[in-house]
Amino acid sequence: MGMSTKRKMQTRRALPAALLGAAVLAATAWVLPKSTRNPLTETAVWSLLVVVSFAGWGSAVRVGVAPKERVDLGLRAMWGAGLVCFLGGLLMVPALMTRTSALLLVEVGLVFALIALWRERSAVRSRFAFAARFIRREPRISFLIGIGLGFFALHYLGAIADSHTNPYDDDIAYLAFAKKLLDTGTVIEPFSFRRLSALGGQTLFVALLWLRAGAERSHTFDRSVCILLILLLVAGYRSKARRTNPVVVLMTMALLLTLPVKAINTASYFSGVAFFLVLFRTVAWAARRDASARAWTSALPLALVGSAACTLRQNYLPIPVIMLAASYGLRLFGRRRSLETEQARSSSFGRDLAELLYAAGLSLVCIVPWLVVSWQSNRTFLYPVLGGTFNPALALKASDPSILRELKLQIGVFLEGVPIPTLGLFVLAAAVVREDDSRRPLASLGIATAVGFVLMVHGFSQSDAMSIGRYVFGSAAAAVIAVLLVTMTTKAFDETSELPGSNTHQRTAAALRRRARTAAAIVVVATLTQLTLSLITRTEGLLLSDTYKQSLTNIGMLARSAPPPRVPDPHEAYLLYRRMQDSIPEKARAAVLLDEPYRLEFSRNPIWNLDMPGYSSLPPGLPFFQGSDKVEEYFAKIGVRYLAFVTSDHSTYHYRREYWVERLVDETELWRSFAPYLIDFLDNLTALSTKHKRLFEERGMIVIDLGEQR
């Protein structure tokens, strides 16, 4: 073969990778410069680049831990997201996680992705070749996959185009956290209950998207990017190195894209599914590895994704811990029984124990920056175990802690709260199926989900089944997908798998096959039932078809909308907030109770968001039910001179006094307990505003100077 022919072949082999690399470069060059672009296209391109960046970081992890092993795109992207989460937390400790750092994190990930593309160009080509072969051989399934991808694109763009944010959670807190993170490099909010309730991983990810997406596109991370990551994890799943049947991938895709979305805000919902699913997949990946692989190399990816899951929501914290403990526990004791010789048992036990210690140690290392930032913000390393700035008078447990009530709530959440009515059938299938490997990823995820579920319901018994259902959805949905993948791909299900040896062995193999078929049949029935229920059940009064139609309308409107000018922001609301903030001297500390604090410039003033007054405050504790003088004394003591707030007759939603007076007789104990605090605080602010100089007053927004009398 001549040199030119060889070069031509090399060029042909590198072509798919080169094309992908060129696409990434072109998209980066288009989206990075600060200019005006159509928001739909800009957000879609940027969000995909963030996923590529995650994959780049994940490729770097792969080079470190398993340079010669095949690691699929989904696993890499999620490992990368875990690493980005760790780095983000690390940068937040010295308040360096600013807009520039966020941009750098994404850009460095893109560089890693391009390097990985080049290094693995042959593998990229073989994936393309496989896809081409598959389309030729299976045109009907390819057509169905095409339709599925079409629905996915609709879902992806629909979430981007959904500009509805929750005035209760997002507008007053979550969006402000993302803005504050980019403005100040960290999120220090000692008065915010929502800040206390999550270490902040979700805020970091939303902020990464915000670099080019903006506040109106804040659903992009959870409902677009995370769904894509989940699908990549499903598509990349292997059972004993065998590809997952495309029909199984299609089933999972259909299940996922039709599940009723009960997320009411931008907090973690699908991101929980993605991180728990990758935890399951990483345990399964570690189980397939060669016994000679060094212990820390299996432990590191587990630590990255496990600790990242912990940062998303406080109620996620026990799940990765229990899952890894269950996995290692089952492996340690299972292997001790199965290995023949004492020497083999001892060697295996030592290696497993070493890996367990590495996983525990590295997980702690990965989560410590987030715990430190939590301390900086709320004087606690581990809420709710340690209250920190939390007000214990507003405990979240029901005041009548009877076992019967607890059981009723547990059952209520399981049957009505989690938006997967067929959950019980998946649990049944999980009980029937027998896993192939000693790490038992499915059993471990199942145990962790069950314990996490019970703990969550127990700890938040003041709330109702529907609200708690949203919090436990992440692990429950991940477990359902895991059951689907395991039962439909287990080796024992395969007719051709034969165990050699005696009749006993063959009988065992036959029994295993029967169990696998039973589990698969249950899962098929459960999936079809779930699909049917999802199609005919109304969520918030809407059928699934209505939701997709609404998405199409939103996409169309956003696609046609004119690109917004970037600087200065022309929105009247921003200008109003700017005027209001300008009335406060630069660098002076302020505390705010506003409908849309995300419109503030947090780099201009140190600002504390009062969020839901009563739940959290700096020592000695914001005084309640003691009059406005005490409140004034308190703010003077902690160095707050300026208070900015919206009056209750102008508040768009959260700070309407009349609404909270009605909540005093609400059926849910949570609101009955909280309502007095907000009413009292609003009344105190009104009283203070009559005594002190008003620096600003426009459209119900008032700034008062506590240092000057009126």
Partner: protein, 197 residues
């Protein structure tokens, strides 16, 4: 020969555990007395606020720190439905259950006002009250269907922190539907307070 457990792994683990332990030790805890005081102030504020806002009727049939409405009660309805300041009530069923918090060995007074739709019932029912399964009181409704139950619960029946009160109006069981959806009995006032000497 390499040790089975690398020293570094143990070191990292111990470091992490040490860090977490010291972090836990540094965290602040609130004294219980101050918490109890704040809760008492909050409850008093809630009562005063609802009365000041002319919503006392809703207060008397809503769950509160010492009274929890449970099964066989609907949510609170208002008549007219436009404001929580209007006449407030809950539909109740055959065995309407309320959890009541006791106050040590103090006798407590129950005052319950309700109404039964006798035009639908075609009969004269009676209403019984029992605490933790023990009958304590019975009252018939008036001609227009209103009933008034007021009685003192002796300390012997209040030995646990919470007790179960069941209000059972007779003759509201229909074979085609389950109460409280029948909408034939309501509770529009419920008080639970210690007996003052």
């Amino acid at each position: 020969m390499r040790p089975p457990i690398p020293i570094f792994a143990i070191f990292v683990c111990m470091l992490g555990l040490g860090a977490v332990t010291s972090m836990l030790a540094c965290s602040r805890s609130e004294p219980d007395a101050a918490v109890a005081e704040e809760i008492a102030r909050r409850d008093a504020f809630r009562v005063a606020m609802l009365d000041a806002e002319d919503a006392g009727r809703a207060r008397s049939v809503s769950s509160r720190p010492d009274v929890m409405f449970e099964e066989d009660f609907t949510r609170v309805f208002f008549d007219p439905a436009t404001s929580f300041r209007n006449h407030a009530y809950r539909w109740m069923g055959r065995r309407a259950h309320i959890r009541l918090k006791t106050q040590g060995d103090r006798p407590m007074r129950v005052r319950a006002l309700g109404w039964l739709d006798r035009k639908i019932l075609y009969t004269k029912p009676f209403v019984t009250f029992s605490i933790d399964g023990q009958f304590v009181y019975e009252t018939p409704p008036t001609e227009d269907g209103h009933f008034w139950g007021e009685f003192i619960v002796k300390p012997e029946l209040l030995r646990t922190e919470w007790v179960d009160l069941v209000i059972a109006p007779s003759s509201i069981a229909f074979h085609w539907a389950a109460p409280p959806n029948l909408s034939v009995a309501v509770l529009y006032k419920f008080d639970w307070e210690p007996v003052t000497p």
